[in-house]
C-alpha cells in the first residue's frame, strides 16, 4: 500500500515538474509578456505590410524600411506616463545617431496606436516636442486604422482602454532587424542595451 503511494508521489512530482516546466518555457516565463519575448528572441517574426504616415504626412510601407535595423516603440500623444519614458530613451539614442558622420546605423520609429486622435498635425506637434527629425526618427500612425490591429498583434502590443479616455499598454522597445523581422523585445528603459547588442 505504502509502496504504491510512494511510487504515485514520485510519478506525480515528475509529471508536475515536467508540465509546469513545459508551460513556462523551462521555468523562464511566468507571464505572457515574458513568454512573447522569449519566443521572439528564439524565432524572429515577420511583420505585416502595413502603410504608415509620418509627422510630415509622408506615407510609407513598413517593408520599405528594410536594410537597416529599426528600434520601434508604440505610444499615444496624450499618454500621461510610460510613453514619456520611451520617448526619453529614443531621445538619447537619437542624439548619438545624429552625430554619426557616415549616416545612422539604425532608424527609430514611434508608432501611435490612437489614430483617431493622433492626426498628422498632432504627430507633427508631438515630434517637435520630443525632437524627432523625421529622417532618423520618425513619428507615425497607420494610414488606415483597419491595419492597426494586425500591426499591434504582430508586435505583441496589447492596448486596453483605461476607462478615463486613455490607454494602458505594454511598454517595450522592439528591434526590427535589417530583414524586416521582429527580432527582439527589450524593456522600456533598455534602449542602450538594444544598441549595445546590435554593435556586437
Amino acid at each position: 500500500m505504502k509502496l504504491r503511494a510512494a511510487l504515485a508521489t514520485i510519478a506525480v512530482a515528475a509529471a508536475g515538474v515536467a508540465v509546469l516546466g513545459g508551460l513556462t518555457d523551462g521555468f523562464r516565463a511566468a507571464t505572457s509578456e515574458g513568454a512573447w519575448r522569449l519566443a521572439v528572441a528564439e524565432r524572429p517574426r515577420p511583420l505585416p505590410d502595413a502603410t504608415l504616415v509620418d509627422q510630415s504626412g509622408r506615407a510609407f510601407r513598413l517593408p520599405a524600411l528594410r536594410g537597416r535595423p529599426i528600434l520601434v516603440e508604440f505610444f499615444y500623444t496624450s499618454c500621461p506616463a510610460i510613453c514619456g519614458l520611451l520617448a526619453s530613451q529614443f531621445q538619447s539614442v537619437f542624439e548619438r545617431l545624429s552625430t554619426q558622420s557616415e549616416g545612422p546605423e539604425i532608424l527609430l520609429l514611434s508608432v501611435s496606436f490612437d489614430p483617431e486622435r493622433d492626426t498628422v498635425p498632432e504627430l507633427a506637434d508631438y515630434a517637435a516636442r520630443i525632437g524627432a527629425d523625421g529622417r532618423i526618427w520618425r513619428v507615425a500612425r497607420v494610414k488606415d486604422p483597419i491595419e492597426l490591429r494586425g500591426l499591434l498583434d504582430a508586435f505583441g502590443v496589447v492596448v486596453l482602454p483605461d476607462g478615463a479616455g486613455g490607454f494602458v499598454h505594454n511598454a517595450a522597445i522592439y528591434l526590427v532587424d535589417a530583414r524586416g523581422r521582429l527580432a527582439h523585445v527589450y524593456d522600456a528603459d533598455a534602449a542602450e542595451r538594444a544598441i549595445a547588442e546590435l554593435d556586437r
Binding site: M1, K2, R4, A5, A8, T9, A11, V12, A13, A15, G16, V17, V19, L20, L23, T24, A29, A30, T31, S32, E33, G34, A35, V158, L160, D162, G163, V168, N170
Partner: protein, 191 residues
C-alpha cells in the same frame, strides 16, 4: 455531489464566466477557487469502492495533494490567465482541469492527511498568499497583459487580506482544539 455539479453549471454559464473574468480578482480569486470547490463538492459523493481503490495510491493523501498543488500553481500563473482569455481551448482546459485536478484530489486527499500535514498545508497556503499579495501590490509592471494595473494591485490587497483572515481563522481553530479544514467532518464520517 449535486451542489458541486450545480455550482459548476452556474460557473460555466457564459454570462457568469464573462462577468468573473472581467476583472483579475474575479478570475483569479473567485472563479478558479469556485471551480476547485465545485470539483471538491462533487468528489464528496464519489462511490466508496472507487474511493478505496484510489486511497491505495493516495496513502496519507500526499500524491493527491501534489496533483492539486501543481494544478493550482499552473492555473494561477499570469500567462495562463491571459491565455484563458485569449484562447477558447485554454479556457475549456481551465474549466476541466481546475475541478478535476485541484478540487477532486484535494477533497479525496484531505481526509487521509494527518493533522501535521494539514497544518503544513495551511501554513504554506497562508504564507504564500501573503507574499504573493505583497508582490502583486508592489510589482512595478503588469503581470497580466489583459488586466489593468489597478486590478493587479487589488488582487494583491485581496490576497493579503485572505492570508490574514485565514491566519486568524486557522489560529482560532488551532487554539480552540477543533479539527482544521473544510473536510474534517467528512473525514470523521469516512473513518
Amino acid at each position: 455531489m449535486i451542489p458541486g455539479i450545480l455550482l459548476y453549471m452556474v460557473l460555466v454559464m457564459p454570462p457568469v464566466a464573462a462577468w468573473l473574468e472581467g476583472s483579475m480578482a474575479g478570475h483569479m480569486l473567485i472563479q478558479i477557487p469556485l471551480l476547485a470547490l465545485a470539483g471538491g463538492l462533487a468528489a464528496r459523493g464519489a462511490a466508496g469502492r472507487r474511493r478505496a481503490v484510489l486511497a491505495g495510491f493516495n496513502a496519507g493523501g500526499v500524491p493527491g495533494l501534489l496533483v492539486a498543488m501543481f494544478a493550482a500553481a499552473l492555473w494561477m500563473l499570469p500567462r495562463m490567465l491571459d491565455a484563458a482569455l485569449q484562447s477558447s481551448l485554454v479556457e475549456a482546459a481551465k474549466f476541466t482541469a481546475v475541478p478535476l485536478l485541484v478540487g477532486v484530489p484535494l477533497a479525496l486527499s484531505w481526509p487521509l492527511m494527518p493533522p501535521v500535514a494539514r497544518g503544513f498545508v495551511w501554513a504554506n497556503l497562508i504564507s504564500h498568499a501573503a507574499v504573493l499579495g505583497w508582490l502583486y501590490t508592489v510589482a512595478p509592471y503588469r503581470l497580466c497583459t489583459r488586466y489593468l494595473y489597478d486590478q493587479q494591485a487589488l488582487v494583491g490587497a485581496a490576497l493579503f487580506i485572505v492570508a490574514m483572515a485565514l491566519l486568524v481563522g486557522w489560529g482560532w481553530f488551532a487554539i480552540a482544539g477543533r479539527p482544521i479544514g473544510p473536510w474534517s467532518r467528512h473525514r470523521a464520517a469516512v473513518s
